[in-house]
Structures are given as C-alpha cells and as structure tokens.
C-alpha cells in the first residue's frame, strides 16, 4: 500500500483530487468566482461562434433589413399613438358617462346626451356656452341642460354639431321652481347683480313664504319643459325686491356654471312637452 501510494502517478492523482475538492467547495460557495467566470467566458465565446453558424441565435442585420424594420416600427408606433389618443378620449368619455350614470339610474326615463363645453360666449355676462353636440345627436331647442348636480341651463340654439346653452344665471331663463322643504313656489330667473357671483334668483315668492337659507330649490315640472325634481340650487340669502315689491331668494347652483367643462342635454323624459307659455322659454 505504501509502495502503491508512493508512486508518482498516484501522488499526482491525489494532488489533483485535493485541488479539485477545494475548487469544488470554492465554486459552490462563492458566487461569480474566477473559475466559473473563466469557464463561462470560454462558453460564451463558443456560443458566439455557433451563433454565426446557426439560425437560432441573433445575427447582425443588413442595412436594408434594419431600414425595413425601422419603417415597420415607425408605422406601428404611429398606430399605437393614435390608439393612445383614442384611449384617452374614450377614457374621458367614459368618465363623463359615469358622472351621469347615477342620474340615469335614478331616472330611467331620462335620455341624456353627454357633451363637452366647446367654447364660451365672451360677450355674454351670464356664462352661456356652446356644447360639442347638436341636432345630429338628437338635441333640440329648448332641451334642458343638466349636470349630475342639477339644471344649469337650456338649449337656445342648435345646429348639426353644436348647441348654444343659456344658463340659469341669465335673465332669459325662467324656470318654475319649488322649495323642497316649505313647498313655496316661484320662478328661477337670472339677474345681472348676482350672475357675476355665479348665483341666480328664486323670485315671485309670496309674502308669507317660509324660504330660508340652506333650502334646496328644485324644478316643479309643471310646464313639461323640465322634469320634476331637478335641483336648481341652494338658498344663500332671502331678500325683498322693492322694484316689483316681491320677495326673492338668491340661490347658488351646486356646480360653478362659470367654469363648467361638460354637461348633458336631456332630450327626453317622462312628461316632456307642453305649450310654451311666452317669450324665449318658460319653465
């Protein structure tokens, strides 16, 4: 045995085994070690050689191929960009529709056409605006214009693609209204003194009215031009008009009509359509 182990070849074998054992422990316990890196580096080089000989790995592309790929990517990018724009439009439309979803859910007889405010009339002190939908979408003159917080106006003019809206801040507006708490009736119409504040007036109140600050004013729906129960605003003050010797209440709509960006046109509802009483539009 001693003679066997004394042989040079056996000594070499045992030495090599010892080194291999140490390297094995080293490579197993030390990540990114030099031995692994060296062998993997050799393997990487060989893989690059085989990549040139096989079709399974990436290869360099010619100029024409690169140009073709670039044009393809460019077209795809343009298409994707257009789709992104559509996506954002759809997302905004979806958000608008969701705003009126509750209103529609509570009033299934309503037909609502959501629209965006296209522009505002700079010469109008009562914040009238133009919507981006018109008769082509089923909108007619006289249709109420609402938000999820209540009535904001009515359609005064309409063409195929746009509709001009006169707001409840305008003296041209006249809507039959009622105090939800006291059942006092009156007419909502705009006054210049209050329009700048974004407020309108609940006028023609009886002398024994019980309207107080904080009351909510809604539409009566008697004329058929507006459905019953649509919110017009909240009373902020009660006063007496010496000009026509009547009481009035100043109401503030829940939306700031002066900064509205979207609204919906109520084109149909239960009880719609009665004879216009007089003038532009009566409520």
């Amino acid at each position: 045995m001693k003679e066997f182990l004394g042989k040079t070849k056996i000594k070499i074998l045992l030495s090599v085994l010892l080194v291999l054992l140490m390297l094995s422990v080293f490579t197993r316990n030390v990540e990114n070690n030099i031995v692994s890196s060296a062998v993997n580096g050799l393997g990487y080089g060989l893989s690059k050689v085989t990549a040139a000989a096989t079709d399974n790995n990436a290869r360099t592309m010619s100029y024409d191929e690169l140009m073709s790929a670039y044009e393809e990517l460019q077209q795809e990018n343009n298409s994707l960009r257009a789709r992104v724009v559509d996506y954002y439009d759809t997302k905004a439309e979806n958000a608008r529709l969701w705003k009126f979803y509750d209103l529609k859910k509570e009033n299934p007889d309503y037909t609502l056409i959501p629209a965006m405010v296209l522009r505002r009339d700079v010469n109008d002190e009562f914040s009238s605006f133009t919507l981006d939908k018109g008769t082509a979408s089923g909108i007619s003159i006289g249709d109420p214009v609402v938000t999820d917080n209540g009535v904001v106006g009515w359609v005064a003019e309409a063409d195929a693609n746009t509709a001009k809206v006169v707001t409840i801040l305008s003296p041209r507006t006249s809507i039959g209204a009622v105090d939800n708490r006291t059942s006092d009736t009156g007419v909502v119409t705009g006054k210049a003194a209050f329009a700048d504040r974004g407020e309108t007036v609940f006028s023609k109140l009886l002398s024994d009215h019980a309207v107080e600050t904080g009351d909510i004013i809604t539409t009566t729906g008697i004329s058929g031009l507006y459905p019953k129960g649509l919110i017009l605003g909240e009373v902020t003050e009660v006063g007496y008009d010496t000009y026509d010797t009547s009481y009035y209440a100043v109401i503030r709509p829940y939306d700031d009509i002066r900064t509205l960006s979207e609204a919906a046109v109520l084109t149909a509802f239960s009880g719609q359509g009665e004879i216009l009483l007089s003038g532009d539009t009566d409520g």
């Binding site: 070849k9 070499i12 074998l13 090599v16 085994l17 291999l20 054992l21 390297l23 094995s24 490579t27 197993r28 990540e31 031995v35 692994s36 062998v39 993997n40 393997g43 060989l46 893989s47 050689v49 085989t50 096989t54 399974n56 790995n57």
Partner: protein, 168 residues
C-alpha cells in the same frame, strides 16, 4: 517524435471536446430523443482514457467533467471529480492489465456511465418526489444514447491514436 505526436493527439482530443461542448450547448441543434440528449463528453473522456496513459487520461477526464459540471451549474462537482478518478483508473488498467478492445471498452463504458448517472441521480434527485418519473423519462434514454455515442468515439479516438502515435 513521440512527444510531438502526443501533442497533436492532445490537440485532436481538445478539438473533439470543444466540438462536443458546442454541439450540446447550442440550442435546438441536437434533437431530444426520448427526452434526452447524449453525454458526448463522457464518451470522449472514456475513449481517450482507453488509449492514453494515466496522467493525460486523468487530465482529459477532469476537463470533460468540468465542462459537464459547468454546463449544468456554475460549480465543479460530481462529474469533474468522478471522471478524474475513473479516467485515471481506466488509463492504468488499459495500460497495465487488460488490453483495450471494443468489447472490453463497451463493458467498461456501460458500467461507468450507468454508475455515474445513478450516482448523479441519487445525489441530485433524492429529495424529489417524482424522481422515478424523471429517471424513466430522461435518464434511461440519456444513458443509452451516451453508451452508443461512446462506442462511436472509441473508434474515432482509436483512429486518432493509431494515426498519431509512434507505433504507426
């Protein structure tokens, strides 16, 4: 002259090993037959050990084992140490005890390949629940293919040895 021929033989063996490593490591080049590919490096190392002396056989066995280990993980392990010892022993036996011939070689290769892979299977898969499924689906095919290829390499390296040795 013998040393010069030996150098050329070693170069030839090295080229074989590089070729085998490349064939095995290139994706989708060699097909899977019954769920496995052959261990070409194993056959090369065993056939070299049959014809060369102990130290060169040990060195080529060590290199083949290292390439097999690094192909599997980034660490030296079972195949490196096992092939170092086995190839040394085969070299010693072939040069001192038993003359190399195809039958002896095939028998030796079958024992070595079977033993190595059973050892590999036992170490790597002892904790795996469905290890026998793996054994049937992959290892049996690998062992058989490796044995068949080792027979091929035996004749290739016999040619190399006889062509590039002093005896010719």
């Amino acid at each position: 002259m013998d040393k010069k021929n030996a150098v050329f033989r070693y170069i030839a063996y090295a080229v074989e090993m590089v070729l085998a490593f490349v064939l095995l490591s290139t994706p989708n080049l060699l097909p899977d037959i019954f769920g496995a590919k052959p261990a070409l490096l194993l056959g090369i190392a065993l056939s070299i050990a049959t014809f060369e002396r102990e130290i060169p056989a040990m060195i080529f066995g060590m290199v083949a084992g290292a390439l097999m280990d690094f192909g599997y993980s980034n660490a030296l392990g079972l195949f490196t140490i096992a092939l170092t010892v086995v190839c040394f022993l085969i070299g010693w036996v072939a040069n001192n005890l038993v003359k190399a011939n195809p039958m002896n070689y095939l028998l030796t290769a079958a024992v070595v390949i079977g033993g190595l892979y059973m050892l590999y299977f036992g170490i790597e898969f002892y904790h795996v629940a469905d290890r026998w499924t793996y054994f049937q689906a992959h290892l049996i095919s690998r062992m058989i293919q490796s044995l068949l290829w080792s027979a091929v390499w035996y004749f290739v390296n016999r040619f190399v040895y006889h062509t590039l040795s002093e005896e010719t």
